[in-house]
């Protein structure tokens, strides 16, 4: 994957966590994710369309997500509540929206977020797109940002 699509996510997650949660993020060594199994039990998912297509996932353990949501909302929320999912969705929305704003000369739209909660869930990304997993550490625990995006095939877009 072109590094020009990775750097924006590193900048955006750092900015979102610093601005909205007043929390620093340590970015660890990225790797290619080869399994569809979710890294942790809570996944916030956003789709991208337009000049760049694919998906972005923020994955947390339930414990880490609960602590982050508490910092974000200023109150503790039950992990099975709609408000908890809403907060996780808004975090991935801000990280993805902020990142795509840094793509150079690309017109990209993002979907409304989806949130999946539960052990052992799977997230299947496009088979033609590698998924880059970036582990992050915070004072609330670890999370990953998983980016499976690529430039849209303009010839197929025109044909469609």
């Amino acid at each position: 994957m072109d590094p020009q699509y990775i750097t924006p996510f590193i900048k955006s997650i750092t900015n979102v966590f610093s601005t909205m949660l007043n929390m620093p993020v340590t970015i660890n060594e990225p790797s290619i994710k080869t399994t569809s199994s979710a890294t942790y039990d809570v996944s916030g998912i956003i789709g991208m369309s337009g000049d760049v297509i694919g998906s972005v996932v923020l994955s947390f353990s339930t414990d880490t997500a609960k602590k982050l949501v508490t910092a974000f909302c200023g109150m503790e929320l039950a992990a099975d509540s709609a408000d908890f999912a809403d907060a996780v969705g808004e975090l991935v929305n801000m990280v993805s929206g902020s990142a795509k704003g840094m793509f150079v000369d690309k017109d990209v739209s993002i979907s409304c977020p989806s949130v999946v909660i539960g052990p052992g869930h799977q997230i299947n990304t496009r088979s033609d797109t590698p998924c880059i997993s970036i582990p992050c550490s915070t004072q609330c625990g670890d999370l990953t940002i998983e980016i499976a995006i690529r430039e849209a095939d303009t010839s197929s877009q025109k044909a469609a």
Binding site: A87, G89, G97, G101
Partner: protein
Amino acid sequence: MKILLVDDSKTMRSIQKSVLSQLGFTQIEEACDGQDAMSKVGAFQPDLMLVDWNMPIMDGITFVRNVRQNDKTTPIIMVTTESEKSRVIEAIKAGVNNYVVKPFTPDSLSQRITETLTKKAA
């Protein structure tokens, strides 16, 4: 001062509501998408609207265009993750008065609200 908050995220509405409360605004109506906001704007008659862009059912830019067909003056602030210059221009052409990019600090949102209302009053 009546304020209409339009955002599909309850979390973001709560955060913005908290900022508005700190500024002394208490008459706040909430809507979860553009269509919900269209159904409330007539009866509520807001003095200011804070509108998200990406929402299901009816997005924020469509809501702004609909509102501006009949109401050219009520200030609207777009509060969104959409930070591209082209999007900001599109929003201004649609009739948005000010623009706040998420993530934002309470101070930056307060500042935009205050400057928008000051400009309206001038």
